[in-house]
């Protein structure tokens, strides 16, 4: 049997069910490794002591019918966890201990999983490099001083570094798929309305979705099956029959029509990404898929649209952080001064920037010119996808326009940071499911991902296409454990 922490979720659950490993052994193995991996800075808050108690409890009375029997899992620190501090990577929530549980994390625990701890992320999930976190940047296990992507950077790093078997992140404009691409892992953003948003610290409510981040596609299907559910507590949760994703997983994609959008061939895209995409197309053909050239003509307008819609929603959502009911408070002479000082000291620069953008585009006299305009363009972007999906079953693109970059490289230029999400943002605007799978490496040996985009609620199809491609690509991450302290 291979080293415990390097095993996939599928292997771990099999080993638990066959009584080859106990929950306690597995939990302790991940905790021991985490204790020697502090250099990566993936944890904001750990739950190690309680996790060991819970694993012992599971072993004393195991239920092997559960889908995640005694499996320890760390989650992004954007999910409210009852009794365990939840910060959203922000000073303003530094002392916040929820008294309730998010629905998606509750789904994990109901299937037997055990909380290992809370993973670092960009502040309020606003960022593409994990550098906006109040708790400091995260190291990408792929190489020293490289960003792990963002905003689910602690999550992507933790999966790649074998610090959790799987994890869940959230994706508003690429925050699951871009970090997955940067770390050689798999990340799926489900259709808007698939996974409940209840108990997730809100960023942009019309775009936010939780989703699985894993070592491989099969694990991704297993985890999606657990977290995707209809929830009365989320008014945009959609009641539909979900697939049995892991059971229905299949490499047979013969006859599937896969679209290749010409607009994703952007200026200055590195040759190796162009090559990666071509290889993906060849592999899909090898598997019997039919390749069809398509057009998504409004692709170039997706990022400007996103940078109106997301900050507008964020400025409204973040109005609740006023120092009154919970979180950080800075004292003031009067109520207004208390608000202003609390928010000035409690939020970091990127969050303030986005609140300012959002406040401006929603302010009197500018609403029509910016916010309404963006909602109209969003309609055009969605229509592009509707038209494309009348001809194809799925769309294949690169996940990101570059591989992981150095820590500090883009922090002084917000727009260049935003361009990271050029291939992922349109999918959120259209509410579609998208998955990033590792597909190759660049000249520095840093991972690169391919993205498969599906029709609404067609997660099974993009999982199957990814499963078939994964088999052909046969990606190996070869991470050297350079950060281990002993």
């Amino acid at each position: 049997m291979s080293d415990i922490t390097s095993q996939s979720l599928f292997e771990l659950t099999s080993n638990i069910k066959e009584k080859k490993l106990s929950s306690e052994e597995i939990t302790k193995a991940f905790i021991d490794r985490a204790k020697n991996s502090k250099k990566l800075n993936v944890y904001v808050t750990d739950n190690f002591e309680k996790a060991i108690d819970q694993s012992k409890k599971f072993d004393s009375n195991p239920n092997f019918d559960l889908k995640l029997p005694g499996i320890p899992i760390a989650v992004k620190d954007l999910f409210c966890t009852n009794g365990v501090r939840t910060t959203a990577g922000s000073k303003i929530l530094n002392n916040f201990v929820p008294t309730y549980e998010s629905t998606v994390t509750q789904n994990l625990w109901s299937q037997g999983a055990i909380l290992l701890g809370k993973l670092n992320c960009d502040e309020f999930a606003m960022g593409s490099s994990n550098e906006t976190s109040f708790f400091g940047n995260v190291q990408n296990p792929v190489g020293e001083n490289l960003v792990p992507g963002g905003s689910s950077g602690g999550s992507s790093a933790a999966v790649a570094a074998n610090l959790t078997p799987v994890t869940i992140g959230t994706d508003t404009g690429g925050s699951i798929r871009q970090p997955a691409s940067f770390t050689g892992t798999v990340g799926l953003k489900p259709t808007y309305g698939s996974c409940s948003r209840y108990g997730i610290v809100a960023f942009a409510s019309s775009l936010d979705q939780a989703g699985p981040m894993t070592k491989n596609v099969r694990d991704c299907s297993m985890l999606l099956e657990v977290i995707s559910s209809f929830d009365q507590k989320d008014s945009t949760s959609i009641d539909y029959k979900r697939n049995y994703y892991s059971k229905e997983l299949s490499k047979d994609i013969k006859g599937k029509k896969i679209g290749i959008p010409k607009e994703y061939r952007v200026d200055n895209m590195p040759d190796e990404i162009e090559q990666l995409w071509k290889n993906g197309i060849l592999y899909a053909k090898d598997c019997g898929a039919e390749i069809i050239d398509i057009s998504l003509p409004h692709t170039n307008y997706a990022l400007p649209t996103y940078y109106i819609v997301a900050p507008a929603e964020a400025s409204s959502n973040l109005a609740r952080y006023d120092g009154v009911k919970y979180g950080f408070r800075s004292p003031g002479q009067n109520l207004i001064e208390m608000y202003e000082k609390t928010r000035s000291e409690g939020f970091g620069d990127e969050v303030k920037r986005r609140i300012m953008i959002g406040t401006y585009v929603l302010s009197s006299g500018y609403y029509d010119a910016y916010y309404l305009k963006a909602q109209k363009v969003r309609q055009l972007i969605k229509k592009d996808f509707d038209d494309a999906f009348s001809k194809v079953d799925a769309i294949l693109t690169p996940s990101t326009p570059s591989s992981a970059f150095k820590i500090g490289e883009k922090t002084n230029d917000p727009v260049s940071m935003y361009l990271n999400d050029i291939f992922t943002v349109p999918i959120n605007l259209a509410g579609l499911p998208g998955i990033s799978i590792p597909a190759g490496k660049d000249k520095n040996n840093y991972p690169l991902g391919l993205q498969v985009i599906g029709k609404p609620f067609d997660e099974q199809n993009i999982l199957n296409i990814s499963y078939a491609l994964e088999d052909k690509i046969n990606f190996k991450n070869d991470i050297s454990d350079w950060w281990l302290s002993e």
Binding site: A319, N334, M356
Partner: protein, 95 residues
Amino acid sequence: MSIDLKTVKHISKLARISIDDEKANKLKGDLNNIFEFIEKLNELNTDNVQALTSIAKTTLRFRKDEIKSENIREKILKNSPEENKDFFVVPKVVE
């Protein structure tokens, strides 16, 4: 169109975030860069396009207006920045 310092200060007031002059100047630069990038949308004619207000094709569900959680006062007050077992405490607002 460009955003001047006065506008930055006005937005910060609306957003209830105090900023000093140095930060306001830095923000002015950042916001102008970002808005230059956003202005690209003006290339498109959207006169006959309907705004997309909801991406999920659902109508909001109705439910009975009934109390589902009771005795949660303690839970709700648990995280309040200033300790008081019955209320949220704020600076004096009535003279």
